[in-house]
Symmetry: D2
Subunit: 340 residues, 4 copies
């Protein structure tokens, strides 16, 4: 009954097996190994376009590295006021960029309201020396309320960014969950809409510690700078082959999508069943593996008494996160505990 | 015959087994797991003193995080001019400290000359607003020429630092190799001599990716700041238990020392046998698993023709690094190739 | 009819005379001169408490230096979303602090709403490693809508800050104007209410370029760090005596308050008379030398045709700024132009 | 008898008069004033080439701003190990660049030895991700031993820099003194030899506080970035006209060169006459207004007893600095005191 976070789940055995296989003999350090190269090819195929990719071991590192090549130290990064980069990374974006300003924008269900984006782009010009110019728009997909932007919603934001000369970063810590929900192709959800740099997370979807920073289109030119920043931040692991091996196994046979579909389905069932309890209601639509519910005190007490793990969210709701390891028994148990 | 670096070696199977065992069920994220707690106790025992410890996955990250709690942005870090933190980390110490100045000091065999340290402490006062004050002395043990400072040599540097109010950082990426060479206790080589913060590396000695930042004595008070910097740098892995598990297996039954002894012995044999070849001579004493040799062109050519992996060092010598996986056959093969 | 900004006004002749007098013979550099010492005594007397003071030549520098001793690189500075430090300093606070996060809080008339402060202090805890902790509350007095917080309004904010262990910075670029409006003592408006560091501006009130960073109470202990940051930022002028001389003349015989009273009175008259024109209304109360008016297009056109200088404010209003040099003729002329 | 520093001298009255003249009526803020524009034209004429110029009020600020547009945060700035930017600016270059590494190079009389530059460029490659690449060579003219590089000496350094793709910064805090000594044109000593960015100081040569950052050739493209960094660092003074006015008066009728010639001649006479005293010898050639002498203890004692101001230099010599205000009487007095 541990629904605290998808990061409390173990890693999928296939990824472990791949790491053990990678652990044979000697291999070039720092990403020059053959596995890293194979994953790059696989991603190119998957995203149907030329790209550059760099691996890292935490989502915070991936986001901060990505932002550090898109934003200078005296630029603005536009994001939702509940964005992980704003609220949960202890200032990593500010650190990696050398002091960029995160400008928080509001919107329901952790989605940036397009009107608020328009106002911000209007109030903060690109060329006035006294004020900080917006250079990056950061979008979380899934976002921090567990919601996925629809493709039209992505368009409404990215078209504004592109018109203003602002780059687009996508925080895809739960990319597979969002993709599963929308049912579109990886390309459709990213570069075809305007994403310049994608952080694609595997850790919350079955890996030990594996995140990819992917550069599309013109942003590929930032690759040498990205590598330098990775090294400078201590994120260029000597034995990078172990991270690449996780990605190889994760992408093989669509395992990554299967795991996400399982987690999403578990989240949906959990949400649906708990919402049938008197007084329980969804704080946000359940579109991935995260469930945000407003719980009556009695339900909360029963869950805590039963030892169910969930997280008190800043907006007053209770967050439950399903993972690839969530079982039917886990769901039944937590629902039973909630019903009392 | 791959002697390029100890980071090209695979991880020891025991560490893998420990990770697989750690991969059961759910566990608290970010270092609150029970394995991390057990390793902390084990290290306390091993170092015979109270300490704080934080795990990370690269030596660069460990060093930079350690330095970031000892040095402010407008302070000086004293180090050898060939130190890894000066020469091989793409400015990570400057990045993590927010702009500290590394002041390079010279000395033979990558050991800081105590007279040069004295001069620097004299020329750069602690309290003059116009100049940057020295706040940290960084010592590599093994150092970048593969040498270990003797205990008296450590005393000659650290006593000066302490007298000037300067903290001491030890870069122990090859800590086990140095300890093996000196045959003293971990305490004798560190806090008993004045080390405030130790970076203890396992990656080069059989781990996948596992480094520990250890705070001794008064420096323990920096622990909350160290954690905040770790988070901000993207180095607080969600599933930290996998790093702790590597350390647990590595420290168990003195595996870490056995692996280092093996690597040191391989280095010594390699050095001794190659030095018997006409024209080959040691550029530095071989005191650990790294061998620096001046090679005649003919020998170099033969080695390259045979596909032997070694590294052309900036000082003109050839560096060979033995590891826990180096076999007698590897040594025989490279010696045979060199002999022609 | 130049009401663009109080920074377009010339310097008061008394300050020039003082600089000329200071320009005799040799004097110690970098703030060790006797004039600097005399001003320090004068300020101690004026504020009725022990203090430390450091001079600089721009308000942006004063604010950023002040914030750099109160906030670490991974801390939060709470401010109004229209604050000068947030909107008009090109990220100087982020630069000087090494990456602090400015968290913008809303409130009418550029005053931070106490409820919004309470929410922020609640949502951003002091001791959670994943999130950035609030360490400084920054209050502008006069603020960016030309309003002065009443003493009770200051209390409502500062008492919350103090209870949470958060330091208080006051941006007093128009300190004299605010003080004039409230009619209280300098002590009453600052340290007696909880201000730890005050940036007291003279530039907008008759100086060439003269700002003081004043540390009260426990914050005095930051003085050595403040000097180091001043030097490191290139703001420790060799011939600091010229800045101190401006302050000495400005404070003498209450010149600073007279100039502010003149500017405030001019602002009030301008506001009152323009508001009598059909369709003109005050966007914010006029409490100092800044006047924010909503103007009908016809009035705007007439003013522009007449060459009247004012500034289109982001909130849609027109900002007119009176200064110590504003004459009755200036006011009459702009009113006449507006009336058409 | 104050020979402590040229920054202890007062400002030349002409510059004051110009500031008083500038203090008439209103003027655009932040450098858009007509005086700033006139100075720009004058400098273009003087340097016989298109250029961009930005004014600031301290040499440290000028250097740090200049370096911040030439060097990224993970680059190397090559300089002499006694350079002002390395030794006397409390880490300002590291601060403004976001963490660049200053690599100190040795050479007699504070001149970088061309062989040491060659070695550094060889040891630190441009394209290796693990090491920090050199991006800027900084040359002080006059340098920190009071010497001027001859034109051929400048060529020997700058040609190497250009070949390696490294930009050149010239710290010209005593530019006029160096120019006076060499007797060449401003163009000959700067962009014609390869200088990309010049910091041209007036403060030590008769100004209150006036320094110019001048961009030549392709470096002119950095101007918008330079302005942004100036604003962000709090160095864009609202009433910038007062700095420009100093420059205008300083450049008029070659006043700047006359003042430098006077100071140089005073330095030369002081050096020549003191060196005739038994046991006194020059530590470095006197080529500008700075005199470095090795003094017998008895001479030192006599000077101190007489209240003569000089500075104990880190290399053991005594530094005397002449200025535009040094009189024949000052020289006679100090010589007499030394003779005893």
């Amino acid at each position: 009954m541990n629904f605290l976070s998808d990061t409390t789940a173990p890693a999928h055995p296939s990824l472990f097996d791949a790491m053990v296989r990678a652990n044979e003999g000697f291999a070039p350090s720092y990403g020059a190994d053959p596995i890293s190269q194979r994953v790059r090819s696989r991603l190119t195929e998957l995203f149907e376009t030329e790209l550059e990719v760099l691996f890292t071991t935490s989502g915070t590192a991936a986001n901060a590295l990505a932002l550090s090549v898109l934003s200078g130290p005296d630029d603005i990064i536009l994001c939702h006021d509940e964005a992980h980069i704003q609220r949960d990374e202890r200032g990593a974006p500010e650190f990696f960029t050398g002091g960029a300003k995160l400008l928080p924008l509001h919107g329901a269900h952790a989605k940036i309201d397009p009107d608020n984006l328009a106002n911000a782009l209007n109030e903060w010009p690109q060329d006035f020396v006294h004020t900080t110019p917006p250079r990056v728009l950061s979008i979380s997909q899934l976002n921090e309320s567990g919601c996925a932007y629809a493709l039209e919603e992505l368009d409404a934001l990215m078209s504004q960014a592109k018109a203003a000369g602002v780059s687009v970063h996508m925080d895809g810590a739960r990319f597979a969950n969002a993709l599963s929900h929308l049912g579109c192709s990886p390309a459709d959800m990213t570069w075809k809409r305007g994403v310049d740099v994608l952080c694609m997370g595997a850790t919350k979807d079955g890996a030990l510690a594996a995140e990819a920073v992917i550069l599309f289109g013109d942003a590929r030119a930032h690759f040498p700078k990205l590598q330098a920043r990775q090294k400078r931040a201590g994120h260029m692991l000597p034995k990078m082959r172990y991270v690449a091996a996780q990605f190889e196994a994760w992408l093989a046979d669509n395992l990554w999508l299967e795991l996400a579909r399982h987690a999403n389905a578990a989240g949906k069932e959990l949400s649906d069943r708990l919402c049938q309890i008197e007084g329980v209601e969804a704080a946000h639509p359940t579109q991935g593996n995260e469930v945000f519910l407003r719980l009556p005190e009695a339900v909360k007490d029963r869950l805590q008494a039963a030892g169910a793990g969930f997280y008190a969210w800043p907006d007053g709701s209770a967050r439950f996160v399903a993972s690839w390891r969530t079982t039917q028994a886990d769901i039944d148990a937590v629902v039973k505990a909630a019903e009392g």
